[in-house]
């Protein structure tokens, strides 16, 4: 991986992370007088120049509202945004661009489904299956839906190794759930769940499935048709794209049967004072002026990832994660949560002795310029499951190099020294 000018079996040139890093302007900055070591990509990724430039070009040369103007720059903006939609559709192998609904982020996509599909299809006593490893964004919308409708929530437990209890999942499926919603990759444990098998099992009992792909679409080759998933949500900012843009993918017949989410401009076909009819997909779900620059920027991010080749992204992250696990395991008093390298993405949660993760993150920031996340990672039930209030979390992406992990390890030794461990 770290050698240059290799060509993989799809004919894509394999670029080194050190080379890729040069595409990210932020990588040249310092924090507290040290080079920035960014290990918090699971929270939000950095942006390559190609994404930043694409958005600037929109603002500087064809900034206009979309879907309305008959003048040249509005037509250009509309074409660029719709082209971005098609790029995203191809990236996740959706059949059609109209199955890609632009949202603000993963949370909005899940809320959209919970309010529209959920309100129309979930009744009192219906069962919704979730898991103990969900991010709050794939938990709270279903709690709200259950409160509105009287539906029941059941949870697939997590093993000590951070894997789903598949035996209990199978038992729960016997109760004929209406909906199964789970995360593809855990943002805390890094666990890659066997989504395709879980979805097939859910379909076998007639359930609809929503996959939280916030941590998978940026890091794995995700194919919605191969997964046969009904709904899938992800965020642009975790996949080298801008904030404020996300995606809801849905099967066409489901999306067409669903009522709209928010009302407003662009989502209507005709409006009279007392009633309206709805626009076609995907615009039925995109009320108001969309995040135009961000959608176009997401298209550029998809182009960038496609040029790298997702198979190369996967290989790079697996190698880094294996290296990091090996290095971290050698630190006395350090506890790693989650499954072995083969079953996880580039996310490692850990604690070190009696050092609170916030103190650890402060020390890493100030002593060695390393940015890691500390806290409950918006997954409080999962933290409770492991008897933890918080962990520190390092996460990797295309621009992460082994030296970043070496500096993390140095910082952890400094923290042990400061805390006299």
């Amino acid at each position: 991986m770290l050698t240059s000018d290799k060509v993989d079996d799809t004919g894509t040139t394999v670029r080194t992370a050190a080379d890729i890093r040069n595409d990210f302007p932020i990588m040249s900055r310092t924090v507290h007088g040290k080079p920035l070591v960014f290990l918090d990509s699971a929270a939000s990724s950095q942006k390559p120049r190609a994404v930043i430039d694409t958005m600037n070009v929109y603002y500087e040369t064809y900034n206009a509202n979309v879907h309305r103007g008959v003048y040249e720059i509005s037509e250009e903006a509309t074409a660029a945004m719709e082209k971005a939609r098609v790029k995203v559709a191809r990236f996740v192998n959706a059949r059609q661009g109209k199955q890609i609904i632009f949202t603000r982020n993963t949370s909005e996509g899940i809320n959209l489904v919970a309010y529209t599909w959920g309100n129309a299809n979930i009744k009192a006593g219906d069962l919704i299956i979730l898991t103990e490893m969900e991010h709050h964004s794939n938990l709270v919308p279903w709690q709200l839906l259950a409160q509105r409708t009287g539906a029941r929530l059941e949870f697939v437990p997590v093993t000590d190794d951070g894997l789903l209890r598949l035996d209990i999942y199978e038992q729960l499926l016997q109760q004929q759930p209406k909906l199964v919603a789970f995360t593809h990759v855990s943002n805390v444990l890094g666990t890659i769940n066997p989504a395709q098998a879980l979805i097939a099992q859910a379909h076998a009992v007639g359930a609809t499935v929503l996959l939280d792909a916030a941590q998978s679409v940026p890091h794995l080759a995700v194919d919605v048709q191969a997964l046969d998933v009904d709904f899938l949500c992800f965020s642009g900012h975790k996949m080298l794209g801008p904030t404020g843009i996300g995606v809801l993918y849905g099967k066409r017949e489901l999306l067409e049967a669903m009522p709209p989410f928010m009302g407003g401009g662009d989502m209507i076909r005709t409006v009279s004072l007392r009633q309206s009819t709805w626009n076609d997909l995907p615009w039925k779900f995109e009320a108001g002026t969309p995040a135009i620059a961000e959608a176009i920027g997401l298209g550029a991010a998809v182009d960038y990832l496609t040029a790298l080749g997702m198979q190369n992204v996967v290989r790079h992250e697996q190698e880094l994660t294996g290296y990091a696990l090996q290095q971290l395991q050698e630190i006395p008093g350090l506890t790693i949560y989650g499954p072995p390298a083969a079953l996880r993405g580039g996310v490692i949660s850990f604690t070190l002795g009696d050092i609170h993760p916030h103190d650890l993150a402060s020390i890493l920031d100030q002593e060695v310029g390393v940015a890691v996340r500390a806290g409950h990672h918006c997954a409080q039930p999962l933290m409770e499951r492991f008897g933890l209030a918080a962990t520190a979390r390092a996460s990797f992406y295309v621009y992460t190099i082994k030296e970043d992990i070496d500096i993390l390890v140095q910082g952890l030794h400094k923290a042990m020294h400061i805390f006299q461990l």
Binding site: H32, D354, I355, H356, P357, H358, D359, S362, I363, Q366, E367, A374, G375, H376, Q380, M383, A389, A390, I418, F419, Q420
Partner: protein, 135 residues
């Protein structure tokens, strides 16, 4: 800014918190958490006459939040309510003796917020000042 949060006495308060635990029959009990980081803190006060005769706190959190709580408990035990009601952020910072970055102020002041909440529950409102913590 140099990394001098974790001075010996702060680590000592973190690892050996003073007045840690609960009171059998507190006059007031107040608690709060920091929703962003999950830190939790509860304070029990025994108020006899116009004095805080006993203090206990219990919580989990970072060294800054736990040391600040431990130090605050020492500052207020045996003091008059009148005096304690007027304690502010500057008093905590002075006691901690370190510069706190904006990201960590919530840690440093969690115990102060819980204390004032407890006093308010006991009918001892903190007078409005510039540094009142926004709830």
């Amino acid at each position: 800014m140099s990394m001098d949060y974790y001075r010996e006495y702060i680590l000592d308060h973190y690892r050996n918190p003073r007045n840690y635990g609960k009171l059998e029959q507190p006059t007031v009990h107040a608690e709060d958490s920091n929703p962003l980081c999950g830190d939790q803190l509860g304070i029990d006060l025994l108020i006899e006459g116009d004095r805080i005769s006993e203090v206990r706190f219990k919580g989990r959190g970072c060294a800054i939040s736990q040391a600040a709580a431990s130090m605050l408990s020492e500052m207020i035990e045996g003091k008059s309510v009148e005096e304690v009601v007027h304690l502010g952020k500057d008093d905590i910072l002075e006691e901690l003796g370190i510069d706190i970055s904006p990201a960590r102020t919530k840690c440093a002041f969690l115990s102060l917020r819980v204390l004032h909440r407890g006093l308010a529950m006991g009918g001892f409102e903190k007078p409005p000042t510039d540094d009142n913590e926004e709830e």
